[in-house]
């Protein structure tokens, strides 16, 4: 529909934006590979920051400015911090943990490799002759804000209800249950009492 302008472009004469996109893409993909293969759990979380930041730069190169800053704010700013909190609250080991990968690693590698080959083949075959026109910016903050609050208001409000529900759900799930807490306290008191008795018997 918009892509009559396919004349002078080609694979063999990449533009500057394409070269930068390719370089940032290589960095992003490498960081993603380290994220899923690193034996050190905290390092995996920190390489995830590099991956998400690289994706934000790709958004900027695609002229989707608002999405890029949202990506930096929400993913790099909060999701990674939540993941690090989770790693520390589950007492993740600081050094390398040899059992980070499961035993079905080779099956996973086969599935992922097959999926990658199929997807890349289909995508390249389908969009071989399509070009994105980046001359006019498509995602400036003003545009996206106007569209979001003019045409997408109802989903936006539904999303705020969903976020509230998720917040309440997370609080309910992570709150310590009163009755089990009471039981475990009673159990520990009983154990203390029996240990005390044993020590008295020893002495």
């Amino acid at each position: 529909m918009t892509l009559a302008a396919t004349a002078p472009q080609g694979f063999l004469s990449p533009t500057g934006v394409e070269i930068v996109f390719l370089l940032v893409g290589v960095v992003t993909l490498g960081a993603a590979l380290i994220t899923v293969t690193s034996k050190q759990l905290v390092h995996a979380a920190l390489w995830l920051v590099v991956t998400l930041g690289g994706v934000a730069v790709e958004y900027l190169l695609l002229t989707a400015e608002f999405i890029a800053w949202m990506q930096v704010l929400i993913y790099v700013g909060s999701v990674v911090v939540l993941l690090l909190f989770g790693l520390m609250l589950t007492k993740a080991p600081i050094g390398p943990s040899p059992d980070a990968d499961s035993g079905n690693r080779w099956a996973a590698l086969a599935v992922a490799g097959g999926a990658a080959a199929a997807l890349v083949w289909v995508v390249v075959d389908a969009f071989r002759t399509q070009w994105i026109d980046l001359d006019t910016a498509q995602g400036s903050t003003g545009d996206v804000g106007a569209i979001l609050f003019r045409h997408w208001v109802l989903p936006f409000e539904a999303l705020s209800v969903l976020l509230l529900a998720a917040l309440v759900g997370a609080i309910v799930l992570s709150r310590k249950n009163g009755t089990t807490n009471e039981e475990s306290r009673q159990g520990s008191q009983a154990r203390e009492a029996s240990e005390g008795r044993r020590e008295e018997g020893k002495s």
Binding site: L29, T35, G86, S102, A116, L163, L167
Partner: protein, 127 residues
Amino acid sequence: MHLAYPAVLAALLFCVGLYGVLARRNAILVLMSVELMLNAVNLNLVAFDVWLRDSLHAGQALTLFTIAIAAAEIGIGLAIVLMVYRNRGTSDVDRLRDTAEGPDDDTDDADDTDEAAAAAKKAEATA
């Protein structure tokens, strides 16, 4: 820009995330790989939105919604992982086999000892 660049990058990122989901053992690393897959989908949405010059910017609006839903998902997911860790003393998805059928019946014993260890640990912590 050629459309194949963002599309191929998104496909490869998705497959890296797929490998992570299937191959990782720690539940939090599985959640990180899910984030990678969601990012691949977001990149596709933005690229096709810019390509189509959609007047409603449906792709970018959907990307914002996906980012918000991913944040909600990571919050709930971490709460569940922390609860499992508190009850079982592990966040290893290979050892949460209560609903699994199979020939390996010894996993039940392992789970019992895990639960006992976790209960002892909790008792120590509250004492």
